[in-house]
């Protein structure tokens, strides 16, 4: 099992569940444990859809291919099973849960990771939460706010990584976590992700972004270009710089 890639996507195709809109078109991608990969690509190319399909979003239907997580097929698993198996997605558009504090939410999420009859140690939880809040440089009162309710765009993104810091996934998919963050916040959040990666070098990270700037802070091992539902090119960090200069002109799907 240790030889298996963290994520091995083969010929993955997916469409919108109730419609004939195909988005992912036989996509291939492999991430080894501990690697950091970045996906860049034009608006509407299917980056978020890929993330959501990997997380098991019910709006999409897989029409072909396979996605293996540490050698285990993901596609038949429920979204919560995937989460419990260690997959985390930071949402491009985090969802509001009015009336539920971040602390309460995270406590429930950690409790869900324990077996039946096991009680979460609340002191440990407090410590974990405080540590995560320190890492992301938020006030302790932040955890008492209702999840994403009334948050600024940047606060929502920071909250996603705060959750990642507490839940400690082994595969984290970060969908445009950088967009909406100001320059200082980008640094804090990136630093947070780097620290988590240092603490757990086996953690695999898939970054979806439009901006090369993020990759100055979080150094990817590989950069992929996604266009029209598939990966059209893979390279090292230099590829991001090239894209920054040239854009996606070379890959515009022929229409």
């Amino acid at each position: 099992m240790s030889n298996a890639p963290a994520l091995d996507i083969r010929g993955l195709s997916a469409k919108v569940a109730d419609e004939e809109i195909s988005i992912l078109k036989s996509l291939d991608l492999a991430l080894n444990p501990g690697e950091i990969h970045a996906i860049m690509g034009p608006n509407g190319s299917g980056k978020s859809t890929l993330a959501k399909v990997l997380a098991g979003h019910p709006s999409y239907q897989v029409t072909g291919g396979e996605a293996l997580y540490l050698g285990q097929s993901l596609l038949d698993m429920e979204p919560d099973e995937r989460a419990l198996a260690g997959i985390f997605m930071a949402f491009q558009y985090p969802v509001e849960i009015p009336g539920v504090s971040i602390a309460n939410f995270l406590r429930t999420a950690l409790q869900a990771r324990l077996g039946r009859g096991e009680e979460l140690d609340l002191f440990d939880f407090q410590d974990q939460l405080l540590e995560a809040m320190k890492l992301l440089e938020v006030e302790p009162s932040f955890a008492e706010r209702p999840v994403n309710d009334g948050f600024s765009g940047g606060e929502k993104k920071r909250n996603e990584i705060l959750q990642m810091a507490v839940l400690k996934p082994s595969l984290a998919i970060l969908d445009e976590t950088d967009s909406g963050l100001d320059i200082d916040a980008l640094q804090v959040v990136s630093n947070g992700v780097n620290t988590l990666h240092k603490e757990n070098p086996e953690m695999t990270i898939l970054l979806i972004t439009h901006y090369q700037r993020l990759l100055d802070y979080i150094k990817p091992d590989f950069v992929h270009v996604m266009v029209d539902g598939k990966i059209v090119r893979t390279g090292g960090p230099e590829l991001a710089l090239e894209l920054e200069k040239q854009g996606y002109v070379n890959w515009k799907p022929s229409s």
Binding site: E78, V95, I97, P98, G99, V100, F105, A109
Partner: protein
Amino acid sequence: MPESKLVDNLDLDNYKYGFVDSESHVYRTKPGLDESIVRDISRQKEEPDWMLQFRLKAFKIYESKPMPTWGGDLSDLEATLDEIYFYVKPQEQTERSWEDVPDKIKNTFERLGIPEAEQKSLAGVGAQYESEMVYHSLKEEWASKGVIFDSIEDGLKNHPELFKEHFGTVIPIADNKFSALNAAVWSGGSFVYIPKGVHLDTPLQAYFRVNQEKMGQFERTLIIVEEGAHATYVEGCTAPVYSTDSFHSGVIEIVVKKDARFRYTTIQNWSNNMYNLVTQRAVVQENATMEWLDGNLGSKLTMKYPSCYLMGKGAHGSIMSIAYAGPGQHQDTGGKVVHAAENTTSSIISKSISKEDGRSTYRGLCKVHEGAKGSRSNVECDALLINDTSRTDTYPYIEVDEKQANVGHEATVSKVGDEQLFYLKNRGLSEEEAMGLVVRGFLEPIAKELPLEYAVELNRLIEMEMEGSVG
């Protein structure tokens, strides 16, 4: 809490109070209602003649009024009323010491956690079983300050002047068909008097239990809060699950005098065969505050609109309610505020949840009389639907006869969103856990006002109710 043997009734959502005791009573009237039963109840209670006359008059009014058709479905109620027992006397007297309550009744309340609750910090505890208060106690500390917390019968017996001065003044007999019915056959309930300036720092609590099948419970509570006094009162209600319908129709009258503050909290968790038609109203005098906190979780049909009549300048009324309409249930609830003096303020916050074919209705009235200058009222009702088959309706009536008044109304209907569920599942929560969390979050603004045990209980209930709610 001790293990309780649940009545095996799977389609009633794990109702944990559904256990039943064997029937026992020292007296009960024959099923149905006629004038002789009204007389009999009065005789059993050895009442003064004025009360008998009051009851007889009420009975006539009850008979003359048609069944209301504007609210929930009462079409089967007439038949039910012919079959139920209007008066069931479980024991001879109201006990002051828990030890003296008959074992069987005591066990019931112990299973419901009542004496436990008493040991926690409560100023006083009352327990009603069938038609009578079987137990009433008040801490000496408060009794010595002149606080009265008695069964309503003892109130009439021991404090006749005070009783007569207020009884039936807040809710007149003819207010509605069920207030008339209650006035005719009332039995049990509390009589509460908080003397001038006394601040109770812990709540008075009353517990209502119906055990007998085909039972009608008609408690009547009268609360007088003197000038500058502060107190809170909490009531809880449960019943076993029977295949036949039962009936509960209480009347609660409250007088909150100048500068006083009073909060009345109800957690109604009747079984799903209960008609629960309650009239509760407070008269609020100058600069006084009345708060209703109303949780309606059980019953087949609840029709209940706590109301505040703001009679004195600067009086404030607040009504916060939670309604949960599970499968087959209809919660027709809301609130009523009447602004009859200058600078009175009120707020109604109502939150309802409907699951499967459950139906919740918000029905509210805000009336501002001419001359009630500077009055302000705000109504907010939010409905949350769990399934596509769930239903909610809103009937906000607003009558403003004063130009210098400000009345706001806001209503929202939301469905537990797929994106919310997905987000929570992505963090490892199961469908049920996710649903439960969204629902709890929705209720949070009101739940945080509840006494701790009730808030915990509410959360536990919501969790249970969300099991198998996959929508």
